[in-house]
């Protein structure tokens, strides 16, 4: 009997996605679970190592058992996992959530997976699965590792590490009553010891208990994935989880949307034909649980019909436990931290062909403005932020030019190019020169002036769609967001580098201009790049363009105290800022494609995109902060601000799904001059993509973020274009 071959996951188009086929397959006796026992025997037969604990797990853990032994073991243990028995464990779960919430409250760098999901899981499972031994970090590490046992074709090294982990965990199990837990509550090992006679093989008890301990980590995985999905949404969506009755109305859908299980797999024991698909003997049938659940939600929108726990004899025994755990953990977190905000660019995932779950969920706990350091106060409240950006008397933009001049004097170094940029970066400007330049720029980039550029925007969008369609490994950043940004920003601003390739390599560093307190060595690197780029700029071509480039127009203006070099620097800085067009488009695409298909049905419809745009921008705009400096002593709420101190307006908490009136593009005197152009690009590029590729989907959690402190920016966003509308959702 051959073993499951991991190449079965290389052809997603052959996955079984129809829920009826999936359920039938899971109940069909001609399909069997992965043969871990056979795999281990084959390794040993070829002179490979023996894995004693894994061998026992392969015989006694439900996931690998088949036939009568499996059914007998399931019958003997069913009572322990059934819903009625679990209600007695609810107080143990609630205590675990309460102490995890305190831990999250006190954590210096709060992370909802480490400090809440896994902390509460371990606290609970120590009693429930009878595992008092070992220190917390060690036990969790071993459980995470052993939870991968169901993954096909693991390396010998990994099998060896799992085997050792299982051996160590066995030593931490106990049948003794757990301290601090109601003595009438019996842990799973004690339950099994008491009913030993009903097991077909009494020696199985420790390994059945061990598989429950390791297998139940999936509860923590799914809780983390559910919180990731809920926290990606807007604040209102999150606060709803704190409302009484949320569990009754919303938990089913959460179970359908956020199982950490991506796929299930079975082996055909002989020639089988199922749902029109032939499977020959020994072939692996991979079932796409995410797609099957999406189809079931189309039939039953409340999500109560789902295959997250599988079906048939191997249906997950932990289903009632998941319902209890997630049903209480999510409201408890939402009530304690109603303003919880997720740093999506800090999220990290563990992904295999079978599962996906977050391993890091960094958060900001509340929207309370507070002092961060001796020189910086962080603003997280929308009303406070709006008052600050509207009050130019008290709060000025960062005064970068005088700062660099003083730095040059004090250090004796020449910061010429850096000061040229600081002088001509609109976000650092103040007063009459700023107002004059703003008026001139608005003549080119103001909303009513941009209609003439629409043909260029559409042409660049079509070119990017063609590029994406032709890409062997399509990536929504490299093959869509970036080319559209470059194709628009260059001509509209009038940036015409003599060596475009070299320019595209250097230009991203322009984004560092915004970084406060840039170290001197970075300042040197930045200004060397600026000098080289400025040298390489040519007068922009204007023929064949539907409008006049900004640089050309500004050269004709009579701007106060601004010569040609200033204008080139001004437009170059705006090109640096325009990278946010690509980053925001990328973030919105990741957001939309992470949503369940039914929540983005209108994505191909320009009217739907238009109605959703402000909310999407508030969640996905790439800039993380707006900075202001105190012109004099000031106060915000309880916080005393000293002159020249820096305020950092944290848009994540301020804007979280505010929709219209968000501060993603700022407000008032310094409102982003590129806002209209960005929105026009988004209104064109978003619907065009979804209209062209209705079956578009992300490769689960394969995206990567740039390590940038000021910006949420995706480096890669790999996708599957999907068949154009055949069977995909």
């Amino acid at each position: 009997m051959p073993v499951v071959n991991s190449s079965a996951w290389d052809t997603p188009d052959r996955f079984v996605t129809d829920p009826d086929d999936v359920a039938a397959l899971l109940r069909d006796p001609r399909f069997t679970v992965g043969q871990l026992a056979t795999h281990l025997d084959q390794i040993a037969a070829r002179g490979g190592p023996r894995f004693p604990h894994l061998t026992e797990m392969a015989r006694h853990a439900f996931a690998f058992q088949t036939g009568e032994a499996h059914l007998a073991a399931r019958r003997a243990t069913a009572a322990f996992f059934a819903a009625p028995a679990l209600t007695a464990w609810a107080p143990v779960a609630d205590r675990a959530f309460a102490s995890a919430l305190d831990r999250l409250e006190a954590a210096e760098a709060p992370d909802v997976m480490r400090d809440y999901c896994e902390a509460a899981f371990l606290d609970f499972v120590r009693a429930f699965a009878g595992c008092p031994g070992g220190d917390d970090e060690r036990v969790l590490e071993l459980i995470r590792l052993a939870n991968n046992t169901t993954q096909p074709m693991l390396s010998l090294k990994t099998l060896g590490r799992i085997d050792a982990a299982l051996g160590e965990l066995l030593g931490y199990l106990s049948t003794d009553p757990m301290p601090g837990v109601d003595p009438s509550l019996e842990g799973f090992p004690a339950f099994l010891a008491r009913r030993k006679d009903r097991l077909s093989d009494p020696a199985a008890a420790p390994y059945i208990a061990l598989s429950a301990l390791v297998g139940s980590h999936t509860v923590a995985q799914s809780l983390a994935l559910a919180l990731y999905g809920l926290l990606l949404g807007d604040a209102e969506h999150w606060r709803a989880a704190a409302e009484p009755g949320w569990t009754d109305t919303a938990l089913d859908r959460v179970m359908s949307l956020y199982p950490s299980t991506l796929t299930l797999v079975r082996m055909a024991e002989d020639e089988v034909n199922l749902g029109g698909c032939p499977f020959h003997k020994g072939e692996a049938a991979v079932m796409d649980v995410v797609a099957a659940n999406a189809e079931l939600r189309r039939r039953v929108p409340d999500g109560s019909a789902h295959l997250s726990f599988g079906a048939g004899p191997h249906k997950c025994p932990g289903a009632p436990l998941s319902q209890l755990f997630l049903g209480r953990a999510i409201p408890a977190l939402a009530r304690r931290f109603p303003q919880l905000a997720l740093h999506r660019d800090g999220v990290r995932f563990h992904v295999t062909p079978l599962v996906q779950y977050p391993v890091a969920l960094p958060v900001t706990r509340d929207a309370q403005s507070r002092r961060l350091t001796g020189r910086m106060v962080e603003i997280r409240d929308l009303d406070e932020a709006r008052a600050i950006v509207n009050d130019d008397e008290t709060w000025s933009p960062p005064r970068m030019e005088p700062y660099l001049t003083a730095l040059a004097d004090r250090s004796g170094r020449d910061f010429g190019p850096a000061r040229l940029v600081a002088r001509n970066a609109m976000f650092f400007m103040s007063g009459e020169r700023h107002a004059a330049i703003r008026r001139a720029v608005a003549d080119s980039l103001g909303g009513n002036r941009l209609a003439r550029w629409q043909p260029l925007i559409e042409a660049e969008t079509q070119a990017a769609l063609a590029r994406l369609a032709a890409a062997p490994e399509p990536d929504l950043i490299a093959d869509y967001a970036d080319p559209i940004f470059r194709g628009i920003a260059g001509p509209v601003l009038g940036i015409a580098p003599a060596d475009p390739e070299r320019f595209d390599v250097l230009a991203p560093i322009l984004q560092d201009v915004l970084e406060p307190w840039l170290p001197i060595r970075e300042l040197d690197r930045l200004q060397a790049v600026i000098a080289e780029i400025l040298d390489g700029l040519r007068p922009p071509a204007t023929d064949g363009l539907p409008g006049t480039p900004l640089l050309t127009r500004l050269m004709d203006e009579d701007l106060p105290d601004t010569d040609e070099t200033d204008i080139k620097a001004l437009v170059l800085v705006m090109y640096g800022a325009s990278f946010n067009m690509a980053h925001t488009l990328g973030n919105i695409l990741h957001h939309l494609l992470t949503l369940p298909p039914e929540d983005r049905k209108g994505a191909a419809d320009p009217a739907w995109i238009d109605a959703e745009l402000e909310r999407l921008i508030s969640l996905c705009a790439s800039p993380k902060y707006i900075y202001r400096m105190a012109r004099g002593p000031a106060r915000i709420g309880e916080i005393e601000i000293r002159p020249d101190e820096t305020l950092r307006l944290q848009l994540l908490s301020i804007d979280r799904g505010v929709g219209t009136g968000n501060l993603a593009f700022g407000h008032g005197l310094h409102r982003c001059v590129g806002a209209a152009l960005s929105k026009r690009m988004l209104r064109t590029a978003l619907p065009a993509l979804f209209a062209r590729f209705p079956g578009l989907a992300l490769k689960p959690q394969r995206h990567r973020y740039f390590e940038m402190t000021q910006t949420v920016a995706l480096a890669t966003l790999p996708c599957r274009l999907g068949s154009t509308g055949k069977d995909r959702p």
Partner: protein, 87 residues
């Protein structure tokens, strides 16, 4: 949640005390490990210059923002000492 502090190395404390005294135009004797950096009048510009000097002198990378994440000279000195150890 206080961070367990590595005892600051004397040469680090001396180097910082001399630098801060120079930037804030004070007598080095007035600067002690428990002196609060902000109360000494250390400005953002001083932080950028000082961290540049620390980088050159001790051959480590030091983000200027790090200085202000510390309350006192001693806490900042122990952070640098820890980075020297890690180098």
């Amino acid at each position: 949640m206080t961070r367990t502090l590595t005892p600051p190395a004397p040469e680090v404390v001396d180097f910082l005390t001399a630098g801060i005294a120079r930037f804030t135009k004070q007598d080095p004797a007035a600067i002690r490990p428990d002196s609060v950096l902000v109360d000494l009048g250390l400005q953002s510009i001083d932080a950028v210059l000082l961290s540049g000097e620390v980088e050159d002198h001790f051959q480590i990378e030091l983000d200027p923002a790090t200085i202000f994440s510390h309350e006192t000279v001693g806490s900042f000195a122990s952070d640098i000492t820890k980075r020297l150890g890690a180098r």
